[in-house]
Symmetry: C2
Subunit: 414 residues, 2 copies
C-alpha cells in the first residue's frame, strides 16, 4: 500500500524548499526571468532528473520532463502547473501542482509499467503574468498560440521579453516549434489550490473542476455635479457616489440571484477630488463579472449595463461604460472530468463540481486538448498571500484521487 502521507510530506518539503528561493528576503516572489526564477527552475529540473525523467528547458523557459511510451505514434498526456509567482505570494499556488505531478509520474516510473501514451510533466515558466502584464506565456508556447508580438512587450524597467529570453539563455526562434502539435495532445491535467473558500467551508479536501469561468471587465464612470455638502438641498443634487452606490448594490443583487453560475464584483471605486464637505461630482469604478455559462455571462453583462444606464437616467448622472477585457468560459473535458469525479467518489469523498473563477493554464491549452483539473482545499480560501496554506492530509487525499485517475486513463483512452 502506498503511503500517501509520506509522499505528501516529500511534496511539502519540495514546496518549502522552492519557496525559500525568492527575489526578496522576507517573502516569496519569483517573477518570470529573474535570478530567483532561474534558481527555482534549476531546482525543479534537478528534481525531475533525480526522479528519472529526461528533461529539457524550452524556448520560453518551461521545464519539460518526458515519460516516454514504447508505443509507436503514441499521443502525449500533459501534467502541469506553473512555478512563477505573484509578488509576496503564497507557496502553493502553482508549485504544488508541479510537485504533485512529479510525485505522480515518479510512482508510474517506479511501478515499472509501460503506458500506451507519453506523459509530459511541465513546469510552466509564466502563468501569473506579473512582469509583462500578460498571462500564460509558458502554456501559450506549448499550446502553439504564442504570439511573437509579445516579444516586444516591456517590463516596468523597459526590458523587453525578447531581451529577457536572451538573458536566460533560450532561443526565441524556437518558440513556435516548442509547441505540441494539436494531433499530439491526448489530454491536459492540472492540480491547483482552489483559491476560494468552498472546500474549506464544506470540509472536503479535493474537488473536480468542471469549467474555468469566462470574464468581462468593465470600467464605469459616473459624472454628476460636485457641490457644497452644506448648501445644496437634497433634492437638487446630482451625487455621483449615490449613483455608484446604487450600481454596486444592483450588481450584488443580480449576482446573488444567479449565484450558482455567476460572480460579480465592484472591486475598485474612486471618488474624484473627494472631500468630506463636497458632494461627489465624479466617481469611477470597476466591474468584474465571471461565469461558466457563455449565455449567462452575456445576459449579465447586458443587464448590468442596462441597470447602470437606468440608474444614471433616474439621477441625471452621465454614465460612461467601457468594456476593457473579456474571455470566454472554458469547459473541462466531460470524459476526464467524469473520471476524476469517479476517482473522488472511490476515494471516499463527496463530489463537489467547482467552477474556477480564476484563470489557469488550461485556458490557452483548451483549444488543442481536452483539459481536466483538481482543486485542493486551502485555508479559508486565502491565496496570493503569505497566509496561503494547504494541509498535508489534503495533499495526501488528492494524491490518492490522482493515482486512481491516472491508473484508469489507459482504459479510458485505448
Amino acid at each position: 500500500m502506498t503511503d500517501y502521507v509520506q509522499r505528501a510530506g516529500d511534496i511539502l518539503a519540495k514546496i518549502n524548499d522552492l519557496a525559500a528561493i525568492s527575489e526578496d528576503a522576507t517573502g516569496i516572489t519569483r517573477t518570470f526571468g529573474t535570478d530567483a526564477f532561474l534558481a527555482g527552475r534549476q531546482r525543479v529540473q534537478d528534481w525531475m532528473e533525480q526522479a528519472g525523467l529526461p528533461t529539457r528547458v524550452d524556448a520560453i523557459g518551461n521545464v519539460r520532463g518526458r515519460f516516454v511510451s514504447s508505443n509507436e505514434g503514441a499521443k502525449t498526456f500533459v501534467i502541469a502547473s506553473h512555478i512563477d509567482t505573484v509578488v509576496n505570494a503564497g507557496k502553493f499556488d502553482g508549485p504544488m501542482g508541479v510537485m504533485m505531478g512529479l510525485d505522480l509520474v515518479t510512482r508510474l516510473i517506479q511501478s515499472g509499467r509501460t503506458l500506451p501514451f507519453h506523459i509530459e510533466l511541465i513546469a510552466f515558466s509564466d502563468e501569473e503574468g506579473v512582469r509583462f502584464h500578460t498571462t500564460y506565456l509558458g502554456s501559450k508556447v506549448v499550446a502553439g498560440s504564442f504570439d511573437n508580438a509579445l516579444l516586444a512587450k516591456k517590463d516596468a524597467l523597459g526590458i523587453t521579453l525578447a531581451e529577457v529570453l536572451q538573458t536566460i539563455g533560450t532561443d526565441p526562434t524556437q518558440l513556435l516549434s516548442d509547441a505540441l502539435a494539436p494531433d499530439e495532445w491526448l489530454g491536459y491535467f492540472e492540480i491547483h489550490i482552489e483559491q476560494g473558500p468552498v472546500l474549506y467551508e464544506r470540509h472536503v479536501p479535493v474537488a473536480v473542476v468542471t469549467a474555468i469561468a469566462g470574464q468581462k471587465r468593465v470600467e464605469i464612470a459616473f459624472a454628476g455635479m460636485a457641490g457644497h455638502a452644506g448648501t445644496v438641498p437634497m433634492d437638487m443634487r446630482q451625487d455621483a457616489l449615490c449613483a455608484a452606490a446604487e450600481f454596486v448594490l444592483a450588481v450584488e443583487q443580480f449576482a446573488l440571484v444567479h449565484k450558482n453560475n455567476l460572480v460579480a464584483t465592484v472591486g475598485k471605486l474612486t471618488v474624484v477630488n473627494a472631500a468630506s464637505n463636497v458632494i461627489p461630482g465624479e466617481v469611477s469604478c470597476s466591474l468584474d463579472v465571471r461565469s461558466n455559462d457563455t449565455d449567462l455571462l452575456e445576459t449579465a453583462y447586458l443587464a448590468l449595463h442596462e441597470l447602470a444606464t437606468s440608474i444614471g437616467a433616474n439621477r441625471l448622472i452621465n454614465v460612461n461604460w467601457n468594456l476593457i477585457q473579456e474571455t470566454a468560459p472554458v469547459l473541462c473535458d466531460t470524459a476526464l472530468t467524469d473520471l476524476l469525479a469517479k476517482s473522488i467518489r472511490e476515494s471516499g469523498y463527496e463530489v463537489i463540481p467547482l467552477v474556477s473563477g480564476a484563470g489557469h493554464d488550461g485556458v490557452p491549452i483548451s483549444p488543442v486538448s481536452p483539459i481536466a483539473m483538481l482543486f485542493v482545499r486551502c485555508f479559508k480560501g486565502i491565496s496570493h498571500n503569505p497566509l496561503e496554506n494547504v494541509e498535508l492530509a489534503d495533499i495526501a487525499a488528492t494524491l490518492r484521487v490522482a493515482d486512481t485517475f491516472l491508473d484508469s486513463l489507459p482504459e479510458q483512452y485505448y
Copy 2:
C-alpha cells in the same frame, strides 16, 4: 434716487481689483499672512480710508474702520465679511461682503446723517482657515473667544501662527483687548454669496438667512473580508463596499425625508487596497450631516449610526464609527431677520428664508451679539471655484435691500 447699478459697478470693480492680488499667477489664492494677503489687506484699508473711515489693523490682522456716533455710550453695529480665500478660489466669497459693506457705510457717511450707534466695518483676516486648519481666526478675536493656544498651531511648513503674526507686524499680546466687549455689541450684519443653488433655481436675487446649520462630521470604517473576485461565491462574501454602498443610500434616503431641515453627504469613500479582481475587505468613508434644528441633527446622527450598525450586523461587517467634529446650529436674530425680510419684500422680491449650510463668521459672533445675514444669488450655486459668479444686477438688488434695512435700524434699536 441712488443709482444702485452704478454703485454695484463700483463694488464689482473693487472685487476684480482685489481678486488680481493672489499668491499664484493663474488663480485667486490669498491665505492668511502671505504677501498677497498683506497686499490685499492694504488695498482694502486704503479704500476704507478714501471713503472717509478712520481705520486700524488689529492684532489678528483684521482691517477695522469705524463710523463713530456722536451719542455718548453708543453701542456698535458691526458690518463685516472676510478677505482671505481658499486655494484657487472665486472672487466673491468674502470680499463681496466687505466691498458692499464699505459701499453701504459710504452712503451713510455721505448722507451727512449722524447715527445713534457706531458702525464698525470689518474685513476679517481669516475665515476659511486654510493655512492653520482652524476657521474664524479674525472673528474670534473680535468676539473675544480667541484661544491663545491657537498661537502654537503650525502651517504646512511648520511656521506657527505666533510667528506669522510677528511677520505681519501685529502684536499678539493685544489679541484679547482687540475684542468688542459683549455690552458694546448692538448687532452683526453680513452679506455673503449663497454658495448654493436655491436662489439660482428660484430666480430670486437675494434672501434672508434664518440660521447657520449645525454640523456633525463622522469617519466610518467598514471591515469585512477581502477575497478573490473570481473564487468566492456571492453568498460567502463579506464585501465592505456593498455595506458602504448600502450606507451611502441610507444616508441619502434619510436626508431626503427631512430635506427641508437637513442635508447629509458621504463625500469621501476609499476602498483600501482596491483592485478590480479583489472583493473589497475594507472601506472608509466620511459622513457630513447639517441641520438648523438641534434636535433633528441629534436624531439624524443617532439614526444614521444605528443604520450603519444594522447594515454591518446583517452583512457580518465590522463598523467603526468615529465622530470627529460637531458644531451646534446658530439661529439668526429674529428681530433683525424680520427687518431684513421686510426690506426684501419692500424692494419687491419674494422672501425666501434660507438656512446656511456653510459656516460663517456669525457663528463665533453669535454668543456676544444678535446676528443677521443676507445671501446673494450666485451662478448655479458654484463656489470655492474660479467659476463662482454674481451678477451686477443682483449686487444692485441687494444694495437696495440693505439700504432699506440699515435706514430702519435706528428705529429698531432706539
